[in-house]
């Protein structure tokens, strides 16, 4: 004979109740599908981002950059020999293309000069052999321009130099070169077409050409600014390897020997010897003499003036002592002790020049012979030192050629730039020292050039020269894997669906228990204790849960597939790439399954516990009196909530003729419970009217509703709250462009955001600059210098640690109190917050401001935190976030002052980002774009830019609405099941009525009226406060399309609710009424 065991019991029960169990299994399967699906979305996005890192870097392991510095291509060969890894040097510049004679333009092109070695970092090396004027573009550029292989277009490239374009006295008027190029092929992503060093999932706009051709185009010789070291190199000794391989040219240094005067001299291509080099020489080379020569505007004395000359330093002199050449003394009729006024330009940020003068006292005269006649004291200044006569000078400072006299011309011809006067080194450095340096030459007597070079090359630190070594692949992988967690995001967005699915499971399990309550009572009577009963039913439930999970996993994968389809198409705004691929990981499937398993078992345990206790209590019946309530408290609570909500709505929601969205939202939150309590009171009121002698069907229905009041109110509360939550959250959009004309808004009061492909060196803050740039008189412009970095805006899914730094003159924002701050540290001046950027904080920290969203979400930091960068000389640059802006057009960037920026990055020249307040708007902008065509301007209105940023949040809310609608549908399915249960419970009552002569159709109508009432009241109670909450969004012209959602979802809810009720009643009535009566 077979023994009976707990498991036999469980298995027999499973088999017997399989149809009933199926619904519980489906509820769990649905929850599993949603959770696993959401987690797999997270995996898929993370995997895609990692794949994109692989695509954008190919087989690159390490990257060496040198900021704005150009080094020789040859350096890559030396490093390759030492590391044994494939190494290639690239020349990277910016540019733009003009297609079809101006029909279309493609701005912000990344122009890469590459050699054939670069191809070996990708899948198809043959693609990177280019002839003169031959280029390849990536698919993104092809998509934007429609260009095909064989097409030609005009390419304009930012011309790079070995010296910074902002270098004083250097003329860089033409900082771009244009050339017609022919497209050889279009590069795919796996062919390094999307090569970029920034951590971003968006495809860059890439153009590749031969590096030698690009060098020739820029009048450079074999220069590069990026070096790639290929896999599998993973060493950490690149810095020392580079040090062993670099040459003086890589540091833009030259050594000259003058055997006649007996010195060896170190000079720089950058006019000024960079401070780190000068400091090294002073410390490490005995007898190193720094020299500082400066181009001054004039000497004035005795009513005479000598224009444009060089002054050099003499370590023997002190203070304001001035030693003048006899030529100058004669010209100005000077004698010892005379005062001479020297006028000169002081170098400010960007190319800002301030003319200043200082008085010196003549302490000596010299003959221009020997050292005093050394033409090499004049630094090498392209356009000046190489000019044959003064009229050919091309200087970076304004020179009035009319002031140049024949005798000046004659001097230039005979003596060149030999200094006409000497001042003390300290005074020269104090007056004319600038961010580029305070030395123009370092002279050493008795040291051979080779020895000097050796000392410098072995002694200098590459980091000081701005060389940066990045473990690009690891950093990229890290940024990708710690970026926006779509798993969590979709769990959040699917919260209501999950909640509805769990609720459905609870309802179904409750129904399941209800079916078996007799069994439970019998077992209890047999002596099955509650723990034993719990164990028994939990074992059974465990099997449904497991089955539900197993069914849910493939459903989750399907759900994930649908989400990814949408993410790659209609929801592309949230990922900014259409390449998201499905990627399944066991860990997510396991975690999702386990969470659902535990949550399901826990909720089942709770339901079971509660049921078992109630079941036993029901056996014992109630013995305490239940307190009857009149509903007066419901009326009081409803009145308080409704009146206070309406007060907030009308007295605070509309302030000074403007809508205040926060109060609308709060009002909605008050109206919802208010209406629920009001419904409760009304239901009581309706059903407690005076007793009439007439008993109608209507009265009967009211009585029935009264008897079911608490259950009905529970359904109404649940459904209405669900509707309210879905709508009030999903429809609640920010009016991002509201008050966009105001300076305090996210636009800063500017109407255009303009980026140029080629930086503009002219300073638009000066009258001359404005004229040069054709800026209308009334236009307000804020130029920004840009230190390229990662975009930390919400458009980038990667976790960004070093966002792009931009710098401006804070006074320009202060003047108009631009933007609004939502968070601040103690360093931020509450009255003049922007001017706080000009201070230097304790410990050498530089103040910085960024969008609060970027600080919080993009970087995972908060105001008061410090960001770590390297400045141009490899020193640690610490930016302290002192303020967070409310959503602005500057999202994604960190803002510092131009002063601080120039000190940290002196070589970064010109501005490539502008905010413009341009009256006359469209026409004026059209004209401006035409004037600036050589810079490749890309213009968007600030409103558009804000809307683009907000499109991410807006898309999330759309997804939330859609998933919310699904949740409501699941909710109505649960409602259908609940109604079925209620109807089945009430069957004897209907059976009795049937026995009394009521036609089944009458009973059916009666029940449908009751269900109608529940559904319609739920919808009304939920939607009214939701509409109030969302009214500011719904009335905004920006979101006119939102009106589609409420009727669409409500119709769906009402129809599914009614259909659910219909089916529930039909199914319940299928059981014969007579049988029900009999059993009663």
């Amino acid at each position: 004979m077979d023994k009976l065991t707990i498991w036999t019991f469980v298995l027999q029960s499973l088999r017997y109740y399989r149809k009933l169990n199926l619904s519980v299994v489906l509820g769990i399967a649905l929850s599993t599908a949603i959770l696993v699906g959401a987690l797999v979305v997270g995996d898929s996005v993370r995997y895609t981002l990692l794949q994109l890192v692989q695509q954008r870097l190919g087989k690159t392991s390490r990257v060496i950059t040198a900021g704005e510095r150009l080094f020789s291509q040859q350096l890559a060969t030396g490093i390759s020999a030492k590391t044994g890894a494939k190494t290639t040097a690239l020349l990277r510049s910016n540019g733009f293309g003009v297609v079809g004679g101006g029909e279309s333009r493609v701005n912000q092109l990344a122009v890469w000069g590459v050699d054939s070695l670069f191809g070996q970092f990708g899948a198809n090396p043959a693609q990177y052999n280019f002839q003169e004027n031959e280029v390849a573009i990536n698919e993104e550029v092809a998509r934007l321009t429609g260009l095909k292989p064989g097409d030609e277009f005009l390419l304009r490239v930012n011309k790079l130099n070995t010296f910074p374009a902002n270098t004083p006295f250097v003329s860089v008027k033409e900082n771009s070169v244009a050339v017609y190029v022919r497209i050889k092929h279009i590069l795919k992503a796996n062919e390094l077409g999307n090569f970029q060093l920034q951590n971003s999932q968006s495809a860059p706009r890439n153009l590749f050409g031969n590096i030698d051709w690009l060098n020739r185009l820029m009048q450079l010789q074999a220069k590069a600014n990026v070096m790639l070291i290929g896999e599998p190199y993973a060493g950490n000794d690149l810095e020392s390897i580079l040090r062993s391989q670099w040459q003086l040219a890589d540091l833009n240094l030259q050594i000259r020997e003058n055997p006649e005067l007996g010195y060896t001299e170190l000079i720089s291509d950058r006019v000024f010897v960079e401070p780190f080099v000068a400091q090294f020489c002073r410390k490490n080379i005995p007898g190193a003499n720094p020299h500082f020569s400066y181009f001054i505007n004039s000497f004035s004395a005795n009513g005479r003036s000598t224009p444009y000359s060089f002054v050099s330093s003499d370590p023997e002199l002190t203070g304001q002592q001035l030693e003048v050449s006899k030529w100058l003394a004669e010209d100005l009729q000077l004698k010892s002790s005379d005062s001479v006024r020297i006028s000169y330009f002081e170098v400010g940020p960007q190319r800002r020049l301030v003319e200043k003068d200082t008085v010196f006292v003549v302490t000596g005269l010299f003959e221009q012979v020997g050292e005093r006649a050394d033409k090499n004291l004049m630094p090498v200044i392209p356009g000046l030192s190489d000019a044959g006569n003064c009229r050919d000078w091309k200087t970076g400072v304004p020179v009035d050629l009319k002031k140049i006299r024949p005798k000046d011309e004659a001097y230039w011809k005979s003596s060149g730039g030999a200094p006409k006067a000497f001042v003390s080194l300290a005074t020269a450095q104090k007056l004319w020292g600038n961010r580029f340096g305070e030395t123009t030459a370092i002279r050493i007597s008795g040291l051979r050039a080779a020895d000097l070079a050796q000392t410098i090359l072995t002694g200098l630190d590459p980091a000081d020269a701005g060389f940066q070594f990045s473990d690009a692949k690891t950093e990229g992988d890290q940024a990708a894997s710690t970026g926006v967690d779509f798993g969590q995001l979709f769990i959040g967005l699917s919260f209501f669906v999950l909640f509805a699915a769990v609720l459905l499971t609870i309802i179904l399990f409750r129904l399941f228990l209800n079916y078996r309550k007799t069994e439970i009572g019998t077992l209890s009577a047999m002596g099955f204790s509650i723990p034993l009963l719990r164990k028994l039913y939990l074992k059974e439930a465990g099997i449904y849960v497991l089955t539900g999970i197993l069914v849910g996993i493939p459903l989750g994968i399907g759900y994930n597939y649908l989400i990814l389809r949408a993410v790659n198409s209609i929801w592309v705004d949230i990922v900014r790439t259409s390449a998201v691929q499905m990627h399944l990981t066991w860990s997510s499937i396991l975690v999702g399954s386990m969470v659902i398993g535990l949550v399901s078992l826990f909720t089942i345990w709770m339901v079971l516990n509660r049921f078992l206790k109630r079941q036993l209590i029901s056996l014992q019946r109630k013995s305490a009196a239940e307190r009857a309530t009149t509903g007066r408290s419901s009326l009081v609570i409803a009145s308080i909530l409704l009146l206070s909500s309406l007060f907030l709505l009308f007295f605070k929601g509309f302030r000074n003729g403007e809508i205040n969205p926060e109060y609308f939202l709060i009002s909605g939150f008050g109206l919802l419970p208010g209406l629920i309590f009001l419904t409760d009171w009304l239901t009581r009121k309706l059903t407690s009217g005076k007793t009439s002698t007439k008993f109608t069907l209507g009265r009967f229905t009211l009585h029935r509703m009264a008897s079911e009041r608490s259950r009905n109110m529970m359904i109404i509360s649940f459904l209405a709250t669900g509707i309210f939550m879905v709508f009030s959250t999903g429809l609640n959009r920010k009016e991002v462009t509201k008050n966009s004309e105001k300076a305090s808004s996210g636009t800063g009061g500017f109407n255009y955001f303009l980026e140029t492909s080629i930086p503009i060196l002219t300073n638009p803050e000066t009258p001359n600059g404005r004229m040069e740039l054709d800026l209308p008189e009334e236009a307000i412009i804020v130029p920004f210098q840009v230190r390229r970095g990662d975009d930390a805006s919400c458009l980038n899914l990667n976790r960004i640690l070093q966002p792009e730094i931009i710098a401006c003159n804070p006074a320009l924002f202060d003047r108009r109190s631009a933007f609004s701050f939502v968070s601040s540290s103690s360093e931020l001046d509450p009255i003049h917050p922007w001017l706080s950027l000009e201070q230097t904080l304790e410990g050498g920290l530089l103040p910085a401001i960024a969008d609060q969203g970027v600080i919080q979400w993009g970087m995972g930091k908060s105001v008061g935190d410090t960001l770590f960068y390297k400045d141009e000389e490899g020193r640690e640059l610490r930016l302290k976030l002192i303020g967070g802006l409310a959503g602005s057009v500057l999202q994604g960037k960190v803002i510092i002052s131009a002063e601080n920026f120039s000190r940290a990055f002196p070589s970064i020249s010109g501005s490539s980002l502008f905010l413009l307040d341009l009256p006359g708007k469209e026409q004026a902008m059209k004209e401006l774009k035409s004037s600036w065509h050589a810079y490749g301007p890309e213009v968007v209105t600030t409103r558009e830019r804000l809307i683009t940023f907000y499109s991410v949040e807006s898309t999330y809310l759309h997804i939330f609405l859609l998933l919310g609608a699904i949740a409501l549908l699941i909710g109505t399915l649960g409602l259908g099941i609940l109604l079925y249960r209620i109807t089945v419970e009430q069957l004897p009552e209907y059976a009795l009525m049937s026995a009394l002569g009521f036609h089944p159709s009458q009973l059916f109508r009666l029940l449908m009226i009751e269900r109608w009432y529940i559904i319609l009241v739920s919808v009304l109670v939920g939607i009214l406060p939701a509409l109030v909450s969302s009214l500011p969004s719904l009335t905004s012209p920006l979101y006119a399309s939102l009106w589609v959602w409420p009727p669409a979802i409500l119709i769906l809810v009402i129809l599914s609710g009614l259909a659910g009720s219909f089916v529930a009643i039909k199914m319940a009535f299928r059981q014969r009424l007579a049988a029900a009566l009999k059993s009663e």
Binding site: L4, T8, M526, G527, F528, L616, Q620, S623, R627
Partner: protein, 227 residues
């Protein structure tokens, strides 16, 4: 020897939202000797089932004491009461309440699971013997929905006896049966009372069933009276 003593038992129920509780049992006393068979009759709503539920520890009195042997049931917690029901009490209801998913054999063995130990050879033998005794051997591997009401109710009696209870409580055990089956079941209960030595307390409307019991009480106005 007294097996069961009810002392001054009071129990009331709610009748409406604002009405005071309705008194069902009022200071009720009952003494049941070991091996006795007792019938309790009374009109509907007189509290017969309530009385049975109190004795069967499915409900607790508002006041008064129930002593089973020397044990005071009111001092037991839920876990102890479950063990008590499993070991000392057998229930037969108006409906058989057999579990439809189990065979008759499995239904009979079900109470043995409550103790957590399952079946021992003795309980298997006892099940076989009792099933044979009530004439259900040919259908013992069938499930309840395929059997008659009488067969199911006999199976319910066997299930109630499987753990050798000292007290068998039967609540309208013949209420759902036809006259013939009703008579057979009543006889069976009386026979088993004698054969198994189990004390029998039957609540019934049926005068013929009541007549077969050793003692007969009538419940009226919350109190038991003889006859």
């Amino acid at each position: 020897m007294m097996l069961l003593q009810l002392q001054q038992i009071t129990k009331s129920y709610l009748s409406g939202s604002n009405s005071p509780g309705r008194l069902i049992l009022d200071q009720l006393d009952l003494q049941v000797a070991d091996g006795e068979s007792i019938a309790i009759t009374g009109p509907s709503g007189s509290g017969k089932t309530t009385l049975l539920n109190l004795v069967g520890t499915l409900d607790r009195p508002d006041s008064g004491k129930i002593l089973f042997g020397n044990s005071d049931l009111s001092e037991m917690d839920d876990r102890q009461l479950a063990i008590f029901r499993n070991e000392k009490i057998g229930f037969v209801f108006q409906q058989h309440f057999l579990l439809p998913q189990l065979t008759l054999w499995e239904n009979v063995l079900l109470p043995t699971l409550a103790g957590g130990k399952g079946q021992n050879p003795e309980s298997i033998e006892r099940a076989k013997r009792l099933i044979q005794r009530v004439g259900l051997t040919p259908v013992m591997h069938q499930k309840p929905p395929t059997l008659s009401g009488g067969e199911c109710q006999r199976c319910a009696v066997v299930r109630a006896l499987i753990n050798r209870p000292q007290l068998l409580l039967a609540d309208e055990p013949t209420g759902a049966l036809d006259q013939n089956s009703s008579g057979i079941l009543a006889d069976l209960l009386v026979e088993l009372n004698k054969e198994e030595g189990v004390t029998l307390l039957v609540v019934t409307h049926s005068a013929s069933v009541a007549a077969k019991m050793g003692h007969k009480y009538s419940l009226a106005n919350g109190k038991l009276v003889n006859g």
